[in-house]
Subunit: 364 residues, 2 copies
């Protein structure tokens, strides 16, 4: 039932799809809309731990979580000319409601700079209200015409963390770019994902930004994957959205913005960087199950073994360790070892006759 696929090199892509499926992370490739998949319970839990850590980093640096509308009317999305030029080839459009044609086409958000800028023009009038740092974690849509790949190149990006900040001066925005880079450094360091930071050439910057700084990692097939970007937006959006602010010297000027984002590519990188030929390897902080207990079936001792297993389970649980007792009788210990290694459980405890007799446990 289990295969051993070399992670490194040319078989990486097959390894990745195999782990996705067998570890039950993300069901991909059989939904009738190309580029859309479904997060399965085990994968969803990894996603939850990763996002909670990102939320912690953002919350403790004064970022505020909000939730903006998915639908963006065509004229709103088109206000900043470079922005719409960059995105118009890959936007999904809603044109009908019920049986009626809509008066105005509605985009499924590809990103939300236009929406936040509209609201900032309502909310913010004075430098005293600045800086503000907002973020949301949402799905976004890109009508990709290239080959899609689960979590890496999809049409529904299910997990887009986009931060949007606004400042009184250019210098403040520059400082925010540095803060954003430091937050992402900390994030990727905690996930154990190596990265390179570089400024993108002009032709490759975010559509509407002054410049873009990107985080790249190297995947096991040797290709680079962009896993995070930080943009200094200058006054490009605040000018067209009329986000005018009274400055501390009492003059009036357009505010300055930055934005920065990560997506489920981070989880693809987490899986790919740490995994081995047997499957996932997860850092304990992000593992849905940190310890699995496998009781070894021994004739005449099974009840005793189960009892000890349950005691170990309860005492680990009492210490807030995410522990699972695999007491399924229809599977062999060998099968279970493979199964939990594939799913990247950091620690396995085996309990059999030796453990019962000696009062110790075996860790693997």
């Amino acid at each position: 039932m289990y295969e051993r696929i070399p992670k490194e090199g040319s078989s990486y892509s097959r390894w990745f799809d195999y782990v996705m499926e067998k570890a039950e992370l993300y069901d991909y490739g059989r939904y009738p809309v190309k580029g859309c998949g479904i997060w399965l319970p085990y994968g969803f839990k990894i996603r939850r731990f990763v996002l909670n850590y990102m939320r912690k980093l953002l919350d403790e640096t004064g970022h505020e979580e909000i939730l903006m509308p998915l639908l963006i009317p065509e004229d709103l999305l088109s206000k900043e000319k470079e922005h719409i030029e960059g995105f118009k080839g890959e936007v999904y459009w809603v044109t009908k409601g019920g049986e009626e044609d809509l008066d105005v086409k509605l985009a499924l958000r590809p990103t939300s700079e236009t929406v936040i800028s509209l609201y900032e023009s309502y909310w913010l009038k004075s430098y005293k209200q600045l800086p503000r740092k907002y973020y949301q974690i949402v799905n976004i849509f890109r009508y990709e015409t290239k080959a899609t790949k689960p979590m890496i190149r999809v049409r529904e990006v299910t997990t887009f963390k986009e931060a949007h900040t606004i400042h009184e001066t250019y210098e403040d925005a520059e400082k925010q770019v540095v803060e954003a880079i430091n937050i992402y450094r900390k994030f990727f360091d905690a996930l154990g994902i190596p990265y390179l930071i570089s400024k993108r050439p002009d032709w490759d910057k975010f559509a509407g930004a002054l410049y873009t700084i990107a985080f790249d990692t190297i995947m096991p097939d040797g290709r680079t994957l962009q896993i995070g970007t930080v943009h200094n937006l200058g006054q490009n959006f605040t000018k067209v959205f009329e986000v005018r602010i009274q400055l501390s010297d009492e003059s009036i000027d357009y505010a300055w913005q930055t934005s920065y984002g990560i997506s489920e590519r981070v989880i693809a990188a987490l899986i790919s960087v740490h995994g081995d030929d047997l499957g996932l390897i997860l850092p304990p902080e992000f593992a849905p199950i940190q310890v699995v207990i496998v009781p070894i079936p021994i004739k005449n001792m099974w009840d005793k073994i189960l009892e000890i297993s349950r005691n170990v389970y309860e005492s680990l649980k009492a210490h807030n360790i995410r522990v699972h007792l695999d007491d399924r009788e229809e599977y062999s210990p060998g099968y279970k070892f493979y199964d939990w290694e594939l799913r990247g459980v950091p620690l396995r405890i085996e309990i059999g006759s030796k453990e019962v007799n000696t009062g110790t446990v075996t860790l693997a």
Copy 2:
């Protein structure tokens, strides 16, 4: 700056909109797409606490969180005839990707019974895999033609918790309906929202269900608001999606399903049920700020008062209380009292000359 609007009776609707805006919960009514709004930081935090409690109730009863695609192709959504009949008048359709017309129209999910049933036909083959209880918390879309109202009747329902369960027998599905009702009871009890439970008449059941049980509450204007529904879906979806299962007696049959949902209407009810003419009143478990400290400016004592305020702040924070120190110097204590009452902070601590001299604090 602040008004006092009677919550009960005919002014309720004005009260609700006023509280939404002034307490900065949800910015509604000025987005260019009707029926769409934006969750503001303070409102988002209430939403977070409410959802975390729902997640806890679901996780501890064996529900597994997943995340399904937003886009549903027309033929998938149309498979169950009663279902599409019920929803087709209010579905948003994506018809274009970039500059191209799509071959198949894609619905923005109005609900996800069709998607989960498709996947269950892939995943589930045997009674040994049952029951399974899935849920997701997502946005859904309804092209409402009636008047919209923030959080109550919207086109983008931003916060839809939909659970989908699958069982071997009709009796198991019936038991699941009872479990779902008990979970919702516990949820609404914790939120302090009174409810009536009733079976909907046939013409008002969920499109595709055998029957629907609904939770209603009474709003301050005397109208009822449906705040939760539980559906026994029978085999209606499993038949058209071919979710066939080997039963414990080795025969093959279609599985049985239930689904149940709540939305941000729960938060609208939370606000409306508990509030008073001065604004929000929040149960402490769901309050973003549980205690606010307001130092009273007294000449020659301000430094001392601030120091004590900070000490109180730190010691409450150390006890994991969500505390806020309002040391803004540009606002009077009276203004601050109004402001925090409007936002429903359960407890206020005032620190002034009396408190400094006696070493006590004043609670309000």
